[in-house]
Symmetry: C2
Subunit: 202 residues, 2 copies
């Protein structure tokens, strides 16, 4: 039996549990925030004791990083800087329905790490700026292609769009009954109107 296969069953079981823990941790993180989520809660829902949990992750902090890395892998997998801005926004909207458990993680961590000394602050700020940059670039591309008016400042508009997206996440976390699709549609229409019409000086 090859070295790699020794304990294959056990290791598979462990990996399974590990994934389950990550999923539960992710969900509770969004619902309760990270600081207010205890290893006991995660463990209970994942079927292990707090100590058992630390068999898979060496500390609570490291578990958080594992959750973040899983999330980053997901994001990286579907980053597409090809489509135009409207499509990017619609993509974000679709994700609300497709993977509701992932929505809000970023916002929750952002709020929990506002302090300059907060451990995740750098990482989060970086991600925010990357989002701005991605949207800006989408707008610039549209302008170069002649699809968008050139008198709209891409950087400003990007800040606005990202604010709208964050705000929708926040609103939806609070009240999932809001008419997501319609609001997104409304906003993208409004955007299109402003981005594609010629200026009229009133």
């Amino acid at each position: 039996m090859p070295e790699q296969r020794r304990y294959a069953t056990l290791l598979a079981k462990g990996e399974d549990r590990r994934q389950r823990i990550l999923l539960v941790a992710q969900r509770l993180l969004v619902r309760n925030g990270w600081r207010n989520t205890t290893l006991g809660q995660i463990g209970r829902e994942a079927g292990v004791s707090p100590a058992g949990l630390l068999h898979h992750f060496e500390s609570k902090e490291q578990l958080l990083h594992a959750v973040l890395e899983a999330r980053d892998r997901y994001d990286d997998a579907r980053r597409d800087s090809s489509g135009d801005v409207i499509e990017q926004i619609n993509g974000a909207a679709a994700r609300f329905q497709q993977v509701p458990d992932l929505i809000g993680m970023f916002i929750v961590l952002l709020i929990e790490n506002l302090d300059p000394e907060a451990p995740l602050r750098g990482r989060i700020l970086h991600r925010y700026q990357a989002a701005i940059e991605q949207i800006s670039e989408g707008i610039r591309r549209g302008q170069r292609a002649g699809r968008y008016r050139t008198d709209v400042d891409p950087a400003l508009k990007a800040v606005e769009i990202v604010a709208f997206l964050y705000g929708m996440e926040t609103s939806w976390l609070l009240d999932p009954s809001i008419p997501l699709t319609e609001v997104f549609k409304e906003y993208t229409q409004s955007l299109a109107l402003q981005l594609t019409l010629p200026a009229d000086g009133h």
Copy 2:
């Protein structure tokens, strides 16, 4: 000497300290979240021991409620349902500069109270819905007055606008260097464009 004036000097000192505690608590609440703010921190910055703090407020939770009530009084004082939506949004923008310490309190508490069982969840949801209602009504008023197109659904647009406002708070909390004024101006222009132009069926 009238009954109310007994111990006037002492009571004034107490009231002074009380106000100072409220201010510090409010600031730390936004920076660190409520759960991550300790009575020790608040006390240190307000010049009392944790125990001394509880002489003025009977518990940490009650202190939070006092902060909320102070905030509500402020909000109620400047509620104006008279101006149109654009003006309301500009008013919100102005508050970022005027009273930066008040910005973000709502968002932070919102995120910390997402859970259905969370103590402030009801209060926060109610306030969100009130904000939506206020904006909706502003749009409807504009429509009745013939200033706005009637083919924009006020409820939908209100959700969008509130999302933008929350998102701007969040973004600004994370990165205060964003060009606030310009983004607000950009957004209100975009809004005006959509709300006041006749429909073109493309």
